[in-house]
């Protein structure tokens, strides 16, 4: 099993994508189910080709990622195959943002 999990996100046009990678995701900007992420770069790129606002990339250690899933901070989704799609409910974004600071985060411009 890989020691690292990469979460990808294609930010929609108008989002402050580069800033989100530094400051975290604002719960007020992502109400309800919160932001969606995928572990598959190709899926994120499919959305990025529509939004045209680059790619966000968040690296977690497997241990941190599994812990966030176990605590319900990261919630598995079934818009894609199992283990490919996740969301972070707005109510848990503060914890997610804290965990992001332990990981490595990048933003690739379009």
């Amino acid at each position: 099993m890989e020691n690292e999990v990469i979460l990808w996100k294609a930010p929609q046009l108008g989002r402050r994508a580069e800033q989100e990678i530094v400051d975290g995701f604002d719960p007020q900007q992502y109400p309800g189910n919160g932001p969606y992420f995928t572990t598959v770069k190709a899926i994120a790129e499919g959305f990025a080709s529509i939004y045209g606002n680059g790619l966000q990339e968040i690296h977690f250690s497997r241990m941190v990622f599994d812990n966030l899933v176990a605590r319900g901070v990261i919630v598995a989704d079934t818009f894609y195959d199992p283990n490919e799609s996740y969301c972070v409910p707005a109510a848990r974004l503060t914890e997610f943002n804290e965990a992001m600071k332990q990981g490595r985060c990048f933003y690739e411009k379009p």
């Binding site: 969606y36 770069k41 790129e45 959305f47 080709s49 919630v75 989704d77 079934t78 690739e108």
Partner: protein, 187 residues
């Protein structure tokens, strides 16, 4: 209760089945996808599943009350919504299908569009894109550069493509002839 009895109790004539082609009426358009109504049930077609080639904003391409045919892919239990695809109803437009007809080892020229993560993304001229694991990609590859690649795996309907750098690949086909590692070594 046995599964068969449970199923017969729960079966509904209007029930959508995975793999069915249904008609739905667009009732919401979001940047990330189209929401349709089918017999009172919700169906979402996420942006990338709308079209193989047209990546324009969905609000410029569709309007509320449009009636669309959708292939049902799966059911999202968490959100109580069916997930569908429009592009898969048009296999003749699928650029990955064209690739599946190529002889294995055919060298293709593609453009590096992303170096993010542990994969290099390469876009091919026909609209398909795939990934070369970074450890297989030459270190001089840069964004915007045209690079030679070969297919290592392909999921046509999913539109997923795995590539290798042609120079790292043992059996590539150049101009119809197969070039083996031995032959490369001899050259």
């Amino acid at each position: 209760m046995l599964l068969r009895e449970t199923l017969s109790c729960d079966m509904n004539k209007n029930m959508v089945e995975i793999g069915n082609i249904i008609e739905g009426t667009v009732d919401r358009i979001e940047p990330y996808g189209l929401f349709l109504n089918h017999a009172g049930g919700k169906v979402v077609v996420l942006g990338p599943e709308v079209s193989w080639h047209d990546h324009r904003n969905l609000r410029d391409r569709f309007k509320i009350r449009d009636v669309l045919r959708v292939l049902v892919l799966r059911y999202n239990y968490k959100d109580d919504v069916y997930v569908g695809s429009i592009r898969r109803l048009h296999p003749e437009l699928n650029p990955y299908r064209d690739l599946s007809r190529l002889r294995p080892g055919t060298v293709l020229q593609g453009k590096v569009t992303s170096l993010a993560g542990d994969e290099v993304t390469v876009a091919l001229p026909n609209g398909a894109f795939g990934h070369v694991p970074k450890y297989r990609a030459p270190s001089h590859w840069a964004r915007g550069q045209m690079v030679p690649v070969v297919i290592t795996a392909l999921e046509v309907d999913e539109g997923r493509l795995w590539l290798d750098a042609a120079e790292s690949y043992p059996n590539k086909t150049v101009n119809g002839s197969t070039e083996t590692k031995e032959k490369q070594a001899a050259n």
